[in-house]
């Protein structure tokens, strides 16, 4: 292997790593705020990619029906959780947030899709369809058991992943899709051939990370989310409701996941179940960051991406094995820092 191949591998790796980093951030965000290890973040990647692919084909994506279904599930979840304090106004709010909004989105999308709007509109529409699902999933699945242990939440999370993968197969079929690049520009820098798509991925990732930074560091709502992560009891005592933080965390995770799918879909063919593996790599990065540290998780994502890229060059068949086994030495190191006698929960 010479330097130029190495550089290409690094470029590939970093491009993929950007997407893993996004997912890792979403996982850290959701975990710190709600204690949910959001395994189905990968499904949002699939949904984002396949929704965009449908728009490119001038079709109404299957996610529109899914959005309506999840909206209803969200309504049921809210009715159940808030059953003790329901009022007329509350019912109206719930109806608007979980039934009317998805219906409007569905109407908009159904009207626009056949017209093949410009790519940027397609991307925005895809986000509009997929991102709210995060909130509905929180309302229907996680909020009713918000006080359960991390382990129960994890099992539920995995169960949700299974259900969503099944639904993805129903709504998108087994066919894979690949979308057109966000930018088909390209240029060479020394011996390195740089694609516009790589730059678009990196650029958008950096913009999103910056936006998240501003949100968490400058806005009171962002700080409220951080406060919930730091001290759940303290947050409640100042009047930050866990549902409020949870909803925002899941909405952000939905947006990030969908965006990850939109960014990755020109790079590789996405099937209904591809998101899981992509999500798991984000997950490896998040775990390396201890599920709490954003910078560590982002750094680990780069490590995962580059290792994956080199592994696929040297031993392409064992690529996945190598990537997932990165976790073992990391966990080993962590385990030696762990106090064994501490009682869990």
């Amino acid at each position: 292997m010479d330097l130029s191949i190495g550089l290409i591998l690094i470029q590939d790796g970093v491009t993929n790593a950007a997407i893993y980093a996004l997912l890792a951030l979403a996982l850290v965000l959701v975990f710190t705020v709600t204690r949910v290890i959001f395994v189905p973040v990968g499904e949002f990647v699939s949904f984002g990619a396949l929704t965009l692919a449908a728009f490119e084909a001038g079709k109404v994506p299957g996610t529109v029906s899914l959005l309506l279904v999840l909206g209803i599930a969200g309504a049921l979840g809210r009715l159940w959780t808030e059953r003790q304090s329901l009022s007329g106004r509350m019912l109206a709010t719930i109806a608007v947030e979980t039934i009317v909004v998805p219906a409007l989105i569905a109407a908009l999308v159904t009207w626009l899709a056949p017209h093949k709007p410009p790519q940027i509109v397609q991307v925005l529409l895809a986000l509009l369809v997929v991102a709210p699902m995060g909130v509905y999933v929180y309302e229907s699945v996680f909020r009713p058991i918000a006080e359960a242990s991390v382990l129960v939440l994890l099992i539920v999370s995995v169960a949700l992943h299974i259900a969503l993968v099944g639904l993805a197969l129903v709504f998108f079929g087994a066919e894979g899709s690949r979308t057109t690049a966000l930018s088909d520009a390209s240029f060479t820098l020394g011996s390195l051939f740089i694609t516009g798509q790589s730059l678009a991925v990196l650029g958008l990732t950096l913009v999103l990370i910056l936006a998240l930074y501003v949100f968490f560091d400058r806005t009171l709502i962002g700080k409220a989310l951080r406060a919930t992560a730091v001290n759940r009891v303290g947050a409640r005592l100042v009047g930050i409701s866990p549902a409020f933080s949870g909803r925002i965390a899941f909405a952000l995770a939905g947006i990030i996941g969908a965006l990850g799918g939109i960014l990755v879909s020109p790079l590789t063919t996405i099937y209904y179940d591809t998101g899981f593996i992509i999500g798991l790599k984000g997950f490896v990065a998040a775990i390396i960051g201890g599920l709490v540290s954003y910078p560590l998780a982002a750094g680990a994502a780069i490590l995962v991406g580059v290792i994956e890229s080199f592994a696929s060059f040297w031993a392409s068949e064992l690529k996945e094995v190598i990537v997932f086994m990165i976790i073992v030495p990391i966990l080993l190191v962590r385990s030696y820092g762990t106090q064994v006698l501490e009682d869990e929960e």
Binding site: L151, I162, A163, I287, E320, V328, L331
Partner: protein, 592 residues
């Protein structure tokens, strides 16, 4: 097991045995029943691993794969007989489980299940990409099992083999859980702290549960390979692992019956859904996975304990065997207690800092043989921290602790327990689902020796009888003999504290450390407790207690050590302490 539920179990078994002989039963049913039996063996392992030891694994299908691939490779490539590969499959799966467990089981909480996901995915791709495993094409041409020249090639014979192994696995698992090692595993649910304080190596107990579940999974994999006659990585992937977990959780994780029930339910429902849903919805798809995902979510939302407990509440009465004859059991060995005047515990210059905060600052005191010493002080004075330092739960930042002449600074709790230090906890730490007498018997853990294998094979009965005789004796001593078979968490708090004391006495202690033993007790109970503690002292055991109830402390103790702001404020006899102006000020504060 009580007779009604034993009868029910035998009836179900009889039905299962009779199934192939019922005229008109389609061969397909026998196949489904075989699948249920194979899945149930895996689920039994999960019941032990997750339900009992509290370790969630998303990787059990991998261990099934270890078993399946071991026998597939040995029989097709090296011409081994299937019967000979079973022990090898179990051994390999067990060894791999031990290795993987040694790396991953030290992880806390959610890291562990996450790691099992990573292991399983890696195994899936490894098997799918290495020639050694014949990649995703898999290995075919696996011979049927033949035992003693008897070929298990047809469906019914295989079904009986699978059923037989399931029954065997069930019996062994039940025996194991009812043994000394099984109690140690069950104790993990009461918190590692309590278990370690009674000398239980919690790390080892977790690994043991992991290995046991892995070996059971390998047995199922061995069956599977010879049933299918061809294998590929798919049935050993992460989704199948999740299926196994679903079975255990749906049935009621932690109940052996629940594991079998869950395996049956999930297998049958899946089978039906695969026929039904595409017909209903008119398209192809993995609909059953959607339904399964949703059902699992709903179970965890509305009935997190699974179906089995509901069924059992409806049909069965209270469990439990009769207590072994407490009087005719052999008298148990006693530790030699130090004579009067000897120093049992000597603490000097004890110090503990958390970051910059000094929680315990230069505390020195002794406890003499046959003495009750009280450690008192306002909230946040550092009493509990001192307690944790003495029992080895926390490492001290400085100072010396000695038991008799033996310095124990830096020792882990488990090792200190061996010297005869027993304790109770401020927040009661009993194992919730377990009976009172089993909880008390945990205190005897260190004085038994039976291994897991002896336990599973019921070779430990003599030792068990001795352990339980002692447990009953100590339970009677605290006045709870009538509650031996009650579930510990159903007792009132005061009684739970007494159970903790009985458990501590079971260790045959030299030094008894009691953390707020009177909290939550009614007046009459406090009087009884004080009487009991005096009797314990008179038998030569020394007692150190933290307590806030001053009535109780003043009336009971021989000497008091008063702490404030981490430092020692005063020492002396109760009457002196009550007159000490510094103590009065510490407790009531000076007027602001």
């Amino acid at each position: 097991m009580s007779s009604p539920s034993r009868l029910a179990g035998i009836a179900i078994l009889a039905l299962a045995v009779a199934l192939p002989f019922v005229p008109g039963v389609p061969a397909y049913w026998i196949t489904v029943a075989s699948y249920i039996a194979m899945a149930a063996i895996v689920a039994l392992g999960i019941a032990v691993l997750t339900g009992v030891a509290g370790v969630v694994s998303f990787g059990q299908a991998m261990f099934v794969g270890f078993g399946a691939y071991t026998t597939a490779i040995l029989t097709t490539r090296y011409g081994w007989s299937p019967a000979a590969t079973l022990p090898v499959a179990m051994l390999i799966a067990g060894a791999l489980a031990w290795g993987i467990g040694a790396i991953t089981l030290r992880l806390k909480g959610h890291y562990l299940p996450v790691a099992t996901i990573a292991w399983n995915i890696s195994f899936f791709y490894l098997a799918g990409s290495l020639d050694f495993f014949r990649r995703f094409d898999g290995i075919s041409g696996i011979p049927p099992i033949s035992l003693l020249g008897f070929s298990v090639s047809d469906g019914v014979r295989f079904y009986f083999l699978a059923l037989g192994l399931l029954v065997l696995a069930y019996v062994l698992t039940r025996n194991l859980l009812d043994s000394r090692v099984g109690r140690a595993m069950r104790s993990l649910r009461g918190g590692a702290l309590a278990a370690e304080s009674f000398g239980i190596d919690t790390g080892r107990a977790r690994i043991l549960a992991f290995v046991y579940a892995g070996v059971l999974a390998a047995v199922s994999g061995w069956l599977y390979a010879h049933f299918q006659r061809a294998i590929n990585p798919t049935p050993f992937g992460i989704t199948v692992s999740i299926d196994y977990l679903l079975m255990a959780v749906a049935g009621g994780v932690g109940h052996l019956g629940g594991a079998i029930l869950g395996a049956g339910l999930v297998t049958v429902v899946r089978d039906k859904l695969q026929d039904l849903l595409p017909a209903l919805l008119g398209t192809q798809g993995n609909f059953e996975t959607i339904v399964f995902g949703i059902v699992l979510i709903l179970i965890l939302q509305f009935a997190p304990e699974g179906l089995w407990p509901h069924l059992r509440r409806r049909f069965a009465s209270k469990p439990r065997r009769a207590p072994p004859g407490a009087d005719d059991a052999p008298a148990s060995r006693r530790r030699t207690l130090p004579g009067p005047g000897e120093t049992v515990l000597a603490v000097s210059g004890l110090r503990k800092t958390f970051g910059g905060l000094v929680a315990v600052n230069d505390v020195s005191f002794t406890v003499q043989a046959g003495e009750i010493v009280g450690l008192i002080g306002p909230n946040g004075a550092g009493k509990s921290t001192s307690f944790n330092l003495i029992t080895g739960v926390l490492p001290a930042s400085g100072g010396e602790i000695a038991l008799g002449l033996q310095p124990i600074s830096g020792w882990p709790a488990r090792r200190i327990a061996r010297l005869g230090v027993a304790r109770t906890f401020q927040h009661v730490k009993l194992v919730h689902g377990m009976s009172v007498i089993d909880n008390v018997a945990l205190g005897r853990h260190l004085l038994g020796h039976a291994s897991a294998v002896r336990g599973a094979l019921r070779l430990d009965r003599a030792e068990e009888a001795a352990i339980f005789a002692e447990a009953h004796r100590q339970l009677a001593r605290v006045g709870l003999a009538d509650h031996a078979d009650a579930v510990a968490s159903e007792l009132a708090l005061g009684q739970q504290r007494l159970v903790e004391i009985a458990r501590a006495l079971c260790l045959d202690p030299v030094l008894l450390l009691l953390d707020e033993p009177a909290a939550g007790l009614r007046h009459s109970e406090k009087v009884a407790l004080a009487d009991l503690l005096r009797k314990v002292r008179d038998s030569g055991v020394s007692i150190l207690l933290v307590e806030h109830d001053m009535d109780f402390v003043m009336g009971l103790t021989d000497r008091l050590v008063v702490m404030n702001f981490g430092a020692q404020l005063a020492q002396g006899r109760p009457a002196e302490i009550q007159q000490n102006p510094a103590v009065l000020e510490a407790y009531l504060g000076s007027a602001a």
